[in-house]
């Protein structure tokens, strides 16, 4: 199949180009020239287009394309900025797909769209989505709207839609500590040090996304792409510090419920002092704190069973042997 990949210049995008080619697809990779995109290796079956969904000729971009893998999204900025940089370009892409007649879409979303206070023990594809978006961060708002639009267009036009929600993506190039804790000077405060992390290696995640393109079983499905939840936050943070992938020097453990209690108390006090619209850092907003640090299990059986996905590099084993990553 000929696949249009948006956001191809990013960390996950470059791995997805490789995975799509490995699975026999030809790729039209859309890269933004001035947005930190790194060159991707050109190889047979990869056509590079420089541009941006907000200004590119989308009909031309979609010409002869059988499927779209939509990865492009903004990660920074306030609610309006992320909405304008994530949702509006997605809307333009969906309109163009409807015009041109492209009927297969794989959307790469995020675990953030779930309501993290709802599950009792496990976060699965059937867990409820966040409905009180005003309490969540700009990224969650924009990704929720992005999913909402994609589902609406797919339903209206009878497209094949598959949504992939990756866990914490890591690889040797990059390993984020956002979901692990909070930086305080040269220290990393590890929130809920014993909780399990929903880690997915970037190559493994890319393979899952690529499998969704051609798989009949993926039609109409949502998959949480998680290698395993074997790794604990404390150990992961220590490993990244040891390998020099974080500039933090030491870890400080903070029990999850203690941090949540502080957030609840601070918000209550701040509301009493400054009114209901009080502005606080995300770490002090209980809903956002839960979405980052709540201890849950993260089963991955659905993607394995329906897609035949085999998490290629397990996070735990890759950490032990970095050469495998």
């Amino acid at each position: 199949m000929r696949v249009l990949l948006t956001g191809a210049g990013g960390f996950l995008g470059r791995a997805t180009v490789r995975a799509l080619v490995e699975q026999g697809h030809s790729v039209r990779a859309l890269l933004r020239p001035a947005a930190g995109s790194q060159p991707i290796p050109t190889s047979a079956g990869v056509e590079i287009r420089w541009g941006d969904l907000r200004s590119a000729n989308l009909d031309d971009l979609l010409a002869d394309v059988d499927a779209v893998v939509h990865l492009a999204a903004a990660f920074t900025g306030d609610v309006m900025e992320q909405f304008q940089k994530t949702v509006l370009p997605t809307e333009a892409l969906l309109r163009a797909m409807a015009r041109v007649g492209t009927r297969c879409l794989v959307l790469v979303s995020t675990l953030s769209v779930y309501d993290w206070s709802a599950p009792a023990r496990e976060l699965t594809e059937d867990s409820p989505l966040e409905r009180r978006l005003e309490r969540r961060d700009a990224y969650t708002v924009s990704k929720t709207w992005q999913e909402r639009l994609c589902r609406r267009y797919a339903q209206t036009h009878g497209w094949r839609l598959c949504v992939v929600r990756p866990g914490f993506i890591w690889g040797n190039e990059r390993a984020s500590l956002d979901g692990v804790g909070v930086r305080a000077g040269s220290s990393l405060i590890v929130n809920g040090p014993l909780r399990r992390l929903p880690l997915v290696h970037v190559e493994s995640c890319a393979e899952c996304i690529a499998l969704c393109v051609a798989s009949e079983a993926a039609h109409g499905q949502t998959f949480n792409a998680i290698d395993s939840d074997d790794t604990r936050a404390w150990r992961y943070a220590g490993e990244l510090i040891r390998r020099g992938q974080s500039d933090a020097r030491r870890r400080i453990p903070l029990p999850y419920h203690l941090g949540l209690g502080v957030a609840i108390a601070v918000r209550a006090l701040a509301r009493a002092l400054f009114g209901p619209d009080v502005q606080l850092p995300g770490i002090l907003i209980p809903e956002r704190y839960r979405a980052r640090f709540r201890a849950l299990r993260f089963p991955n059986q659905k993607a394995i069973a329906l897609l035949g996905w085999k998490p290629r590099v397990h996070a735990e084993s890759a950490r032990r042997d970095p050469r495998r990553a």
Partner: protein, 348 residues
């Protein structure tokens, strides 16, 4: 009263926040992007949202329309709303050029509807306080106004420097700086009256900048005094500093933070004046900083207080059947000055 907000972007958010506070309004929102219109409607709990302005006019029949789109759509949308019998509030700048403003003004006159521009800073609390001092005679006559905006428009992530989705202001003479000229021109016109002549200097200080110009200076001779107006994309920190010099007092305002300090001649020995002014200024700055912090924490940053006051006065006037807070001749004076400040740039 039925109100429509056309354009659901960043500034529309501020209009919708204020409209939410005014009782008795039924508000709808419209945007070319159905998602943007729906997003705004959901966030502000609005019962109606549209992606077609004509359909909005047909179904809603609004009494007031706020035009908050990019400037190139202002004239068409405002004209249409006026023709359908709505009063109109248009975001700044009200029109891409002075001739278009005159066209709009005529349309409002023939429709017998009010048309005002969002000129927020004349309605901000510090400016209003200075106006009261001038009115009472305590300030004396205004001699000179010095207004300078410092904003890093070319910073990474800035909408004005996004090469992938060029900001509509790039089509205006002077580029994105033109988007801020209304603020400078409205304060100049407010304090020293309509301009008689102006000399300007436009520069591109940073050759790597995505902006056509990143610095602007102007010296204005006006009916009641003089003004120096400036915009700098290089000076730090971000600020909107306005100094009004009068025959009895000088007012220094920081309009992004809502700050004001006054320098005056104190009674008694003139030798004590610098000390007394120093103490008073220090006290003002401390109080302003605390007020600004409180406002930011409360989710009501002072930078938007002027817009809030303008909209509230507009609706009070409409309900009372009185004249709106900005008269056409005031908007005209600002539009003429802006045309003068950018004269020659379009050709260049």
């Amino acid at each position: 009263m039925k109100v429509a907000v056309v354009g659901a972007g960043r500034i529309a958010e501020q209009h919708l926040r204020v409209l939410r506070e005014i009782e008795g309004l039924e508000v709808g929102v419209c945007d070319r992007s159905p998602a943007a219109a729906e997003f705004a409607a959901e966030r502000f709990a609005l019962p109606r949202h549209y992606d077609d302005f004509e359909r909005l006019l047909d179904e809603m029949r609004p009494d007031v329309v706020h035009v908050t789109t990019p400037v190139d759509a202002h004239v068409a949308l405002a004209s249409r709303a006026l023709a359908r019998g709505a009063h109109v509030l248009v975001e700044k700048p009200i029109a891409p050029c002075h001739a278009d403003w005159l066209t709009l003004c005529e349309a409002a006159a023939s429709a017998q509807r009010w048309l005002i521009e969002d000129q927020p800073y004349p309605f901000s609390p510090p400016v209003q306080r200075v106006l009261r001092l001038i009115e009472s005679g305590e300030f004396g006559e205004v001699v000179h106004v010095d207004a300078m905006i410092c904003l890093d428009l070319a910073a990474p992530g800035s909408v004005f420097a996004d090469v992938h989705a060029p900001h509509p202001s790039h089509a205006q003479p002077g580029g994105p700086i033109s988007d801020f000229l209304t603020h400078l021109a409205s304060l100049c016109s407010l304090f020293v009256g309509p301009h008689a002549a102006a000399r300007t200097l436009w520069r591109k200080r940073n050759p790597q900048s995505a902006l056509p110009f990143d610095e602007m200076r102007a010296l204005v001779e006006a009916e009641r005094g003089t003004a120096t107006l400036a915009f700098s994309a290089s000076s730090r920190p971000d600020a909107f500093a306005v100094c009004v010099q009068g025959t009895r007092m000088t007012a220094a305002m920081s309009l992004f933070e809502g700050g004001l300090s006054l320098q005056r001649r104190w009674p008694g020995n003139p030798a004590w004046t610098p000390l007394a002014n120093g103490i008073a200024t220090g006290g003002s700055h401390a109080a302003d900083a605390l007020r600004s912090l409180h406002a930011k924490l409360s989710g009501r940053p002072l930078v938007h207080e002027g817009l809030r006051e303008l909209i509230r006065r507009f609706y009070s006037a409409l309900r009372a059947g009185a004249a709106p807070p900005l008269r056409p001749e005031q908007i005209d004076a600002v539009s003429r000055l802006m045309a003068e400040l950018t004269a020659g740039l379009a050709e260049a």
